[in-house]
Amino acid sequence: MRIIFYIIQKEFRQIFRDKVMLPIIIVIPMVQLLILSYTATFELKNTLISIVDHDHSVTSRELISKFKGSSFFTIVSFEESYDSGIERIKSGETDQLLVIESDTEKKLARAEKTTVFLVTNAINGSAASLMNAYAVAIVTSFNQELIAETLPGIQTAAAIQTETRHWYNPRLDYKTYMVPGILVLLITLIGMFLSGMNIVKEKELGTIEQINVTPIKKYQFMIGKLLPFWIIAMFELIIGLGFARLVFGIAVEGNIALLLSIASVYLLVVLGIGLLVSTISDTMQQAMFISWFFLVIFILMSGLFTPVESMPEWAQWINKINPISYFIQINRMIMLKGSSFKDVAELFYALCVYAVLILTFAVKRYKKVA
């Protein structure tokens, strides 16, 4: 035990003495949390739309005014023709083009079917489908108003009405969804890089040789190297949760103690991967590249930005070994839904198995040689 204490003491001395690392560890993650939480969003507030009105009628003007009145749309231009509208989309000045055919009002007056034409820039598929849905919603509600006005005899109110309630995130605030995920990301980055770089740094300096020539046991060395970063990452998570509460007003719905205990196991997995990387690499440069390779894949597949359920099946299989994916799910469940242990038990056990496997492997790989 005493031997482990001396390693931990040394690690903390080195961390607190480093005038560059200390702010990196404490300040940068919080800045990231602030910036990413505001920017990593798929919310659409300001869709730019151009309109081609061939009808020039009262009806077409009313439809246009519906778009004007919507907070989602900003009308950037009125175009003479379909072609000039398309040019606007090509040049990026507008996202959407609404074309109202001539004779629309006349056809409606005769109770004939008529169409409006909608073109959407779909380079970003998910944004495009949202824009499309918003525009269609406006046209549909306009259509219902028209029917009610012109054909008062027909009772449209009899149609099924959908009433929507948004649970767990009632104001549909994207930040509420993103903050728990980004918190996971931050402790993952800190944990993996600090632990991954640490042993490699001792390799580069040559101090590891001096340690390897002592009778220290592998497990003592590993625990002494892991614990400091485990403590720092846990500390960071707690600060991050405080930030979420104070800055974003997102309180943990579930049990904080449960969240922290699961986090402590999750961090063992992350630190274990970091250690494994450092046993494989000889230089910090190598360790950096290997860590980033895994991190980029793990982060993009984690479900932070895009739902795991909509990924292809093989990707979902890969996600079974993606620790970030597990903990983002758990963290969102506990923070937003207030899930209990029973709800996250399966994911938690998976993390436990993962931690045992990765740490065993890392300790096995570490050789006391030079």
Partner: protein
């Protein structure tokens, strides 16, 4: 473990071979080192000295041969060997961002010494070095010669039976080298066996016995006086050059 008799060598090497692929770094080395002896391990760059030291310290496994250090077998009892040896590597290996005292504390700590033992020994060693006044200085700010002397003390903090010094005086000024060798003599007087490599031939003269390695083999092993006589030379420098040149592989 078995009690060692006085005459039994503390380092016993028979036919040590270490190969890296096709390259033979150590080619059938055989030698004994006695307790309290200062054993000089000489050779040109790349002759295989560091490899042999690492094997004796349990940092690398030999390809074949029988090797015992401090009475323990290098294949099966490497961790027991480590308890009984000190090692100062070619590369400076104390922490530059820790103070002198903190370095002693860390290395003493991982050798399993108690807090009071560490305190006592640090105080004693710094007094011997007359460096008590810099005990709280960060190592980065201390001149190289001083650091090398500190590194030797750190290697001795757990009172090992044998200490391995791999080119301990590289880049150090003559006065400090002199002081360094006084430290080595003091240690040897206390019964510590010193196994030292060097490129300075005047230092070779200070050793009790000297082995000279050429291309992975030990070409000569004797006291400096006997070597000079055998090779018809007045200095160890001449002996070394005669031996090393015969291999046609020095620069």
């Amino acid at each position: 473990m078995m009690k060692q008799s006085v005459s039994e060598p503390v380092i016993k090497v028979r036919n040590l071979v270490k190969k890296f692929g096709d390259f033979v770094a150590n080619d059938h080395l055989s030698f004994d080192v006695q307790k309290g002896e200062i054993f000089g391990f000489l050779g040109a760059n790349g002759a295989g000295k560091t490899t042999a030291i690492k094997i004796l310290c349990g940092l690398q496994k030999p390809t074949s041969g029988e090797i015992q250090v401090a009475g323990y077998d290098v294949y099966t009892q490497a961790e027991l060997i480590k308890k009984n040896i000190g090692y100062m590597s070619q590369r400076f290996s104390m922490y530059e961002d820790l103070s002198v005292r903190e370095n002693f504390q860390f290395y003493g700590g991982i050798y399993g010494l108690s807090g009071s033992e560490i305190k006592e020994r640090t105080k004693e060693m710094l007094e011997d070095l007359q460096m008590t006044h810099i005990s709280n200085k960060i190592l980065r700010e201390i001149p190289l010669g001083w650091k090398q002397k500190l590194a030797f003390s750190v290697a001795m903090v757990h009172h090992p039976k044998i200490v391995f010094l791999d080119e301990p005086t590289g880049g150090v000024d003559p006065i400090t080298r002199r002081q360094f060798w006084e430290m080595i003599y003091t240690a040897a007087d206390k019964g510590v066996t010193v196994f030292v490599t060097t490129h300075y031939m005047d230092e070779a003269e200070y050793c009790g016995r000297v082995s000279i390695m050429v291309d992975g083999r030990i070409e000569a092993l004797d006291s400096p006086e006997a070597l000079k006589k055998n090779y018809n030379s007045t200095t160890m420098n001449d002996v070394f050059i005669k031996l090393a040149r015969s291999s046609g592989n020095t620069n």
